[in-house]
Amino acid sequence: MSGWLLLFGGFPLLLLLFTSFLKQHPEKFFELSLSVESYAQLINPDYLLVFLRSTLLAGITTFVCLIVGYPFAWLTCRMPSRYRLLILIMIMIPFWTNSLIRTYAVRIIIGAKGIVNKLLLASGIIESPIRLMYTDTAVLLGLVYLMLPFMILPLYANIEKLDYRLVEASRDLGAGPYNTFRSVILPLTMPGIVAGCIMVFVPTMGLFYVASLLGGAKKLLIGNLIQHQFLVSHNWPLGSAMSTTLIGILVVMLLLYRVVLHQSDTAADRL
């Protein structure tokens, strides 16, 4: 198991790390001499803007997934068990389809002659087709659609473990639904919320084709930038340096989360 992980996960990562310290070559992918010049190139306000834009988009996507996913996971947990399984299967099935194909499906759905426009036209809400394709809304919609299961599943796993008698105890002690949610449900499902947010945020940072296919690649995201270095500019060292830096930032974020989690745990133990 760990052997495979090393071979297919660790080894490519090492290659990436190695490449990021090589020099750019005008004709070949790279020149075999060590240098930090790619990392120096990263210090560029344009790249910072791309990074911030990507972070913002991934952040909004994560937030929307949470707002939609939490009530969904909660209601699923409160269903009779046979419906619960059915719903979970319906969440899982799209997982088995390539996300690129599903992104094309979203194009068809929200296109000018797509089902969304047809429904809106038929119901008389709009008179001429609205333009969804190649807008920021389309990108967000596509990202949320792709990432939602990654939010729902950890939330579901956490909420399902929540002892419902604690909710009853809270009501019994005089807390209304709002206070019960804030003081009991939210703190106890926080691990699921954090896990879901990480599982959505991290991959969203790297998804480039959704923005290209649904947003028309008008605004560069960090994923587009990296893809561009590898496939268009043939600047593998720079692309590798960008990838390595992105991975580094995400790893630091995860470590910070663990430290915070660990601290609150030990703080509780010390009492």
Binding site: D163, R165, L166, A169, R171, L173, G174, L271
Partner: protein, 364 residues
């Protein structure tokens, strides 16, 4: 039943599919009273508690708390508090925050919260554990936190859902005493749900024995034990011996002539049953007398000692009567006869003290 009772369940109906139904349930509690709902699992006793707490809505009927119908109020608006079977302590809060929870959500000023919580923790002997999390407490301590968390709110009715069932026997009897002391000190009107008959007998002012959503009998522990209304109640409370008999005739208002095996005897009973109908004579193990202890003119039933076990204060015997039934007897040691004992296989005669028997209709 009147509206001045603290709690009055009036004609409450509740059904869950076809499993069982609580039908026309009537119960009222006086201020400071300790009532136990006793029955096997699935008899509906926990449902009654959940109806009062507000977690279930009755299909029909009213629940009055201090004369006001609370059926349409959500749980948080009802001045009752529950101690849950699993305690349901908030795992992410300290003991203090758990106990303070009900006061905080009612927006009691912080210094008052502190005073009341400290007081409740003292009453439940939890002061040293105020900053612990529930996971760092023993079962008995968790139990006390659950109790403190409920009583700190000064509920009009305290609901206890099998609160002691997760504790070991020794701790359970300690907690029983503590529970009773607290209940008396604070004058808490209390409903306890349990399937432990000794808990019901030792703690309550009145016991409600339940059978499949219905009340089989309500009475003081003494009434329930000594004068059970039917075989169900008798079987549920304590050890019993049953001797099959037949009614010969009613002699007068109080006396019945019955036939027990080849004996004919006259017993005091107001049982309403026709001559010839089958009855059971209910005798507790301590009602029985063996051989030379039989002082009265009562039927002597011959039998053989099957088992004897020494219990310290008592000697318990199992006797196989020649007529068929196997009975249990429980005799106190007599100081005049220190060698008092039986050997297995010994032939004896069994009888009982006149008037200690209960005559019950044979429903089987």
């Amino acid at each position: 039943m009147n509206r001045s009772n603290v709690l009055w369940l009036s004609g409450v109906w509740k059904s869950f599919g076809s499993d069982f139904t609580i039908a026309d349930f009537e119960l009222s509690l006086e201020y400071g009273e300790f009532i136990t709902l006793l029955g096997p699992s699935g008899c509906g006793k926990t449902t009654i508690l959940r109806l009062i707490a507000g977690f279930e809505k009755p299909d029909k009927g009213a629940i009055y708390l201090d004369g006001v119908d609370i059926v349409h109020l959500p749980p948080e608006k009802r001045l009752v508090n529950t101690v849950f079977q699993s305690y349901a302590l908030f795992p992410h809060m300290t003991v203090f925050d758990n106990v303070a929870y009900g006061l905080k959500v009612r927006k009691i000023p912080p210094n008052e919260v502190k005073r009341l919580v400290d007081q409740a923790l003292e009453q439940t002997k939890l002061t040293p554990f105020v900053n612990r999390k529930p996971s760092q407490l023993s079962g008995g301590q968790q139990q006390r936190v659950a109790l403190a968390r409920a009583i700190v709110n000064q509920p009009r009715v305290l609901l206890l859902d099998e609160p002691l069932s997760a504790l070991d026997a020794r701790l359970r009897s300690d907690m029983q005493l503590e529970l009773k002391r607290l209940q008396r000190e604070l004058n808490l009107t209390t409903i306890l749900v349990t399937h432990e008959q000794d808990e019901a007998l030792s703690l309550s002012d009145r016991v409600v024995v339940m059978d499949q959503g219905k009340i089989a009998q309500i009475g003081t522990p003494r009434q329930i034990y000594e004068e059970p209304l039917d075989l169900y109640v008798a079987r549920f409370i304590g050890e019993i011996n049953l001797l099959p008999a037949r009614i010969e005739k009613r002699i007068d208002k109080e006396k019945l002539e019955i036939r027990l095996f080849e004996h004919s005897l006259i017993l005091t009973s107001d049982l309403d049953a026709a001559p010839g109908s089958k009855v059971q004579i209910l005798l507790r193990p301590e009602d029985l007398r063996i051989s030379e202890d039989i002082k009265e003119d009562m039927p002597r039933l011959p039998g053989t000692i099957m088992e004897r076990s020494y219990r310290g204060a008592t000697l318990d015997t199992t006797i196989h009567l020649d007529h068929g039934p196997i009975v249990q007897a429980c005799e106190f040691f007599d100081e005049d006869d220190p060698d008092f004992d039986y050997s297995i296989g010994e032939r004896v005669e069994v009888s009982w003290v006149r008037g200690w028997e209960v005559l019950l209709r044979d429903e089987e």
